[in-house]
């Protein structure tokens, strides 16, 4: 299977709602990064984690290398959260594998 499987491929939320995205890894990864890509194609790094949990405002991310997964949780969704979210896993020095992305749409 794919080294990085990201789910769901697409997600639609109403403003104020919350939900989570998940990446499963086929092997033990050394770290993970989460990105948001906006409608103009601009990529923004949200988190990088070697392990554990990080929180930033309405976003929270967890990485469990032993269980081979990472999650990104969005709460109180806002219109500007729309975009495509990617996880990317570090499996070897200099090698970053991206998931296929989750297209998030926020409805008013």
């Amino acid at each position: 299977g794919m080294p990085v499987e990201q789910n769901p491929p697409a997600l639609s939320l109403y403003e104020g709602a919350e939900s989570g995205l998940r990446c499963n890894f086929s092997t033990t990864m050394k770290g993970v990064q989460w990105f948001q890509q906006n409608h103009r194609g601009r990529l923004i790094t949200l988190f990088y984690l070697a392990q554990g949990t990080k929180e930033n405002g309405r976003l929270k991310s967890t990485f469990n290398s032993k269980e081979r997964y990472s999650t990104l949780h969005i709460k109180d969704a806002q219109l500007e959260d729309s975009g495509t979210y990617f996880c990317a896993a570090n499996y070897n020095q200099g090698k970053l594998i991206f998931g296929q992305g989750t297209k998030l749409s926020i409805k008013p």
Binding site: V4, K30, R40, G41, R42, G94, L96, I97, G99, Q100
Partner: protein, 114 residues
Amino acid sequence: GGIITQTPKFLIGQEGQKLTLKCQQNFNHDTMYWYRQDSGKGLRLIYYSITENDLQKGDLSEGYDASREKKSSFSLTVTSAQKNEMAVFLCASSKRDWGKDTQYFGPGTRLLVL
């Protein structure tokens, strides 16, 4: 703060042509990267460089050359453009090795090969 600029924004080439994309950053970051993104897909690492004159291959280096002429600039060359190729090339930089630090991305160069 800082900024990453990529030139050109749009690049239209002919099959077999050698095409060069340029990236500049003023973060004073050590590490720079080139990624390719195909429509609806995630990014794939082409090359990266941890310091001036250093070059490391990513998973997608075949068909590309790269050059880190100085700390602030990193260029990518498509050695022979493939017909109907269409992709976005994204440059990024980080203070240290990417596994340990946040990457900042440029706006991208959109390539179309006729």
